[in-house]
């Protein structure tokens, strides 16, 4: 199985094709609806000139996300003696971020987005343009994924967005996923869907 380490180079990403299982290691950030909307409003729409109050976070996110990875996940988090750990950390449905994802990929030169269920045409095009992939995590495999989260480094916007929506910066080791959208315009989801549609028509004779 191919191992990916963050930051990931464009060359490595361009070698990946749909259907390939990978394991990922390095520092990544979670982000769901609130985080994506925040990035668009403060960084993308301002052309990289965020309001004063958001500049510090912008620099930090640039560090993490440039050639980096964002994970669609709303974790169950435990706090003990001041340190956080992930108890359950399965993927959440990605398509909700479709209106934002392409811009976020381009803005930061993201190399991978992890989630479940796949994403749409805009994201696929951004992957092709920038050199990024969509990685599908295994739905329901919460224990195993939580185990691959070795460390919670920090969290941003926890009070503002709430625990599931915050930017959790985590160090993962051997995080298992499958490339289902690659940087060459291929989506495994579209391919499987058209095959199964054809097979269904054959089986029910319509």
């Amino acid at each position: 199985m191919r191992k990916l380490t963050v930051p990931i180079s464009e060359v490595t990403i361009r070698e990946l094709t749909v259907g390939e299982p990978v394991i990922l290691s390095g520092v990544i950030s979670t982000g769901r609806d609130a985080a994506h909307k925040y990035i668009i409003d403060n960084f993308v729409k301002t052309g990289g000139n965020p309001p004063e109050a958001e500049r510090e976070l912008y620099a930090k996110l640039q560090d993490i996300l440039t050639e980096g990875v964002i994970y669609h996940c709303g974790p169950v988090v435990q706090q003990q003696n001041g340190t956080y750990s992930f108890v359950a950390a399965g993927p959440t449905t990605s398509i909700r971020e479709e209106p934002y994802q392409a811009d976020v990929i381009e803005h930061f030169t993201l190399r991978a987005v992890i989630g479940k269920g796949g994403m749409g045409t805009n994201t696929l095009q951004a992957c092709q343009k920038v050199g990024a992939v969509y990685l599908h995590a295994i739905g329901g495999a919460a224990s195993l994924i939580a185990q691959s989260v070795k460390e919670v480094l920090t969290v941003y916007k926890k009070d503002e967005f709430g625990v599931p929506e915050a930017f959790w910066v985590i160090r993962v080791e051997d995080f298992p996923a499958v490339v289902t959208m690659d940087s060459h315009g291929n989506s495994l989801h579209d391919k499987i869907k058209s095959q199964s549609n054809a097979k269904l028509a054959e089986l029910i004779g319509s």
Partner: protein, 289 residues
């Protein structure tokens, strides 16, 4: 009647943190059939390792611990009201011990009750029987797969499905195709034919409690189950929708009487985390399976 609260907590723990042996075997068999190095094999491998880990650490198999559904058979003399109280208490205790995630949300206020109890939550159905034993079957039904469960009304002209078993077959295959990428395949289908909309859905879920390898006593339904399993897998959707040989691990069907005017087909879709557990109480003795 003795207080079974702690036993119900144990039943919930078993359901939430372990998979039934037949499900585990089916997943292992499926993994062996998938092409080596494929995404499908990788997904099944991850699922199986996750199951091992959850069992070893007594942590929930999936972060969504689902709706607890209890089907209870009891002899004359047992009080369903008392049993209900004990089950509700057990749900709260199991939540405290983190076997269950707080999952019961007030539909009006949006507030989570925090202890997995609420209006008609958990779901409990009672059936009186002649045996001198209490049998409790528990199913933890996840939300992702519940969202792709569905109901059809025959005839369905779009699918060319008439009011017969072939029509049933067509709509069920359509449901499997529509569920792709959602609901965490490979799954198990519970199918109910007939009834009204409500009874039909209930019956479809009750099918999910049947072991994977049981034989339907009704030959026509047994044939339908077998054919649907085979054809569902021919769709090639595969684990997680990655493509592959395993889309379904089992199909279980039951029939109910219906009104002449209606012909409903309900499809209860259960994800790979098909968490069911059973407890029997005979006299003072409590056993789990």
């Amino acid at each position: 009647m003795q207080d079974l609260t702690e036993n119900f907590v144990e039943l919930i723990r078993r359901a939430a943190t372990d998979l039934p042996a037949d499900m585990q075997q089916a997943l292992e068999k499926a993994k062996a059939q998938e092409e080596s190095g494929s995404a499908a094999e990788g997904a099944l491998d991850t699922i199986l390792r996750n199951v091992e880990m959850a069992r070893a650490n007594a942590t929930p198999i999936c972060q969504d611990t689902g709706t607890p559904i209890f089907e209870i058979h009891y002899p004359l003399g047992v009080s369903p009201r008392q049993v209900t109280e004990q089950i509700r208490k057990a749900c709260a205790v199991a939540t405290e011990r983190a076997y269950l995630r707080p999952n019961a949300v007030d539909s009006l206020s949006g507030k989570n009750s925090g202890d997995n109890t609420g209006i008609d939550y958990p779901t409990i159905h009672f059936h009186e029987w002649d045996e001198d034993a209490i049998q409790v079957d528990l199913l933890l039904k996840g939300g992702g797969c519940e969202n792709v469960s569905t109901q059809y009304k025959l005839p369905d002209s779009g699918l060319g499905a008439g009011r017969d078993l072939d029509g049933v077959r067509k709509v069920v295959l359509d449901a499997v195709n529509k569920a792709q990428g959602l609901g965490c395949a490979p799954g198990v289908l519970g199918v109910a034919i007939g009834g009204d909309r409500g009874s039909s859905y209930v019956k479809s879920k009750q099918q999910l409690l049947r072991p994977l390898d049981d034989a339907n006593p009704e030959p026509e339904l047994a044939d339908l189950e077998e054919r649907l399993l085979e054809e569902g897998n021919q769709l090639g959707i595969g684990p997680m929708g990655f493509g592959g040989k395993t889309t379904l691990l089992g199909v279980k069907a039951g029939a109910l009487h219906r009104l002449p005017a209606s012909f409903f087909v309900s499809v209860a879709y259960m994800c790979w985390a098909n968490r069911r557990a059973q407890m029997r109480v005979v006299g003072e003795e409590v056993t789990y399976a």
